[in-house]
């Protein structure tokens, strides 16, 4: 096909503008400002002081590690909770119901995190629905403390992220030919063998993309840790928010943000390497 050059530029220029002004330059500026530092005398210098602040204060790097470990654990938890559901939707339930069940999964995503997290606050509070229910059936006498703990934070993070795991897994499972499973079953393979030798390997691309999205959402989340977490459940994003919106130390905040970016990119890169996948697949 003959292609005129000027159409190419008509397409290229807006995309370049978008990516350079809104993605590349802002991240370069984030990187640069993480080295800017204002001394007590008001002198502006280039230094590593912002990063030193991170490493010298235990609370910062502990929160950082805590957030990383927690985010990885929640990603695995999301996989365990949602895989049976994805399998049910794509392979077990009658076909006419599967699109309805999938649509039901999308509703909480579109409603948005703030509303659903608020719903969990009402459910889990001392005066909340679950405690009231448990008291009224006589199982407990005094409310169980659930809100503002690691438990409620985990529920919130799981709830807001897990649905992003199901959708990619469903689409890879749908491409798995049923006759492979039938053949294995006819040849006497146990359910466990079929599961580990056929189903899991086949859905690996979906699990990886889902896992990456879940991990990214959890590690970058603020609302669930902030509204549902307790005094001890610190999340690294909260430190960044404080630097920007409470203490107005933007340069230190930039350093913290850059560290979070490095952390999440490194873990995502490792996940892609380990599963032999490309970032392009995550998008599809």
């Amino acid at each position: 096909m003959k292609k005129s050059k000027y159409v190419f530029y008509v397409l290229l220029v807006p995309v370049l503008l978008w990516l350079i002004t809104l993605i590349v330059l802002p991240h370069i500026e984030l990187f640069l400002s993480s080295f800017r530092f204002e001394t007590d005398e008001g002198e502006k210098i280039i230094s590593l002081a912002n990063y030193m602040a991170f490493f010298s204060d235990e609370i910062y790097w502990r929160t950082f590690l805590n957030t990383a470990v927690y985010s990885i654990s929640i990603t695995f938890l999301a996989f365990l909770v949602t895989f049976p559901v994805a399998f049910y939707i794509s392979k077990v339930v009658a076909k006419k119901y599967s699109s309805f069940l999938t649509l039901l999964l999308l509703i909480p995503i579109w409603i948005g995190e703030l509303v659903t997290i608020y719903g969990w606050m009402i459910l889990l509070g001392d005066n909340g629905v679950i405690n009231n229910f448990l008291i009224s059936i006589g199982l407990i006498d005094t409310p169980i403390e659930m809100l503002y703990t690691d438990f409620s934070m985990t529920i919130g993070l799981l709830y807001m992220s897990m649905l992003f795991m199901i959708v990619p897994i469903v689409s890879t499972l749908e491409s798995l030919d049923d006759s492979l499973i039938e053949a294995a079953s006819d040849l006497g393979a146990s359910k466990w063998t079929i599961f580990t030798k056929i189903i899991i390997p086949h859905s690996m691309p979906g699990i990886t993309s889902g896992g990456i999205i879940v991990f990214m959402l959890v590690i970058g989340d603020y609302v669930a840790p902030n509204l549902l977490g307790g005094k001890s459940s610190l999340w690294f994003t909260e430190q960044i928010y404080n630097k920007f919106l409470a203490t107005f130390n933007w340069n230190e905040g930039a350093a913290f943000g850059f560290l979070l970016l490095i952390l999440s990119s490194a873990i995502i890169w490792l996940a892609l390497r380990a599963s032999g996948q490309k970032l392009e697949r995550v998008g599809s």
Partner: protein, 283 residues
Amino acid sequence: MIRSLPNSPIYKYTFRLYIALFYIFLVMPLVVISVLAFNDSNFIALPWEGFSLDWFFADTDDRLGLFADEDLLLSIWTSIETAFVVAFMSSIVGTIAALLFEEEKFRFKGLLYFLALSPLVIPGVILGISILISSTTAGTFLDNKLGIDLEWLAPGFWLVVIGQFSFCSTYVMLLVGARLKKFDRTLEEAALSLRATRLEAIRLVTIPFLKPAIISAFVVAFLISFSNFNTTIFLVGSDPTLPIDLYSRIKFSSTPVLNAVSFMIVLFISLIAVINIVMSRKK
């Protein structure tokens, strides 16, 4: 194990029970909010004090319902305006990007595509702070060196739009790109051999084919923008969007009017879902 294979009853019913529990877990917060929006009480949670529409319509000293709360209505309106502009802009640029990456070959295409996908793996917080820092730097530079004061570089409506646009375009690009992969190139070639210019071929043949995908991408971008918190919080000025307003109310002054707003959102989204079902039935 699957539809075509026999299963033991225990396996079948445990599986069904698990799925039922999962869906209960999923809808529980939404049901609870919706029911308590009609509670005749001044507290967001239980006990149930009877049915009331106060939190929608009341305008008294101790109860300000949704439709009487001007601040809340204003933030809803701000969110609608923002989401509309963001969806509009990102539908255009996202579609252009899909056309560029699907139809053109050029140097550094791989690198550029990687950049276009990167918002998928950059946490929203980071996008927010980097755009805040760089727009402030640019604003100060223009003001000091050239004496130009650009209002839209300071936190406010346009900065929120810019921030949300930066990642919504990626989602549009992916949705439109997926449909473009199914496009029969010979149609465009036919148009070209009939002496249409390339731009005419795109406008008259390709875009009409992409129209359904562009419309659904517009809706998706609208909804993403409408519920965004992580990026918006850094870029917002004196007029908060709805999620920002909800957050500060939950944090500092929660009344059941929050349940009423949440109920309206649940209702609105469910309505879109129902329309979606009806539309796909028709096909």
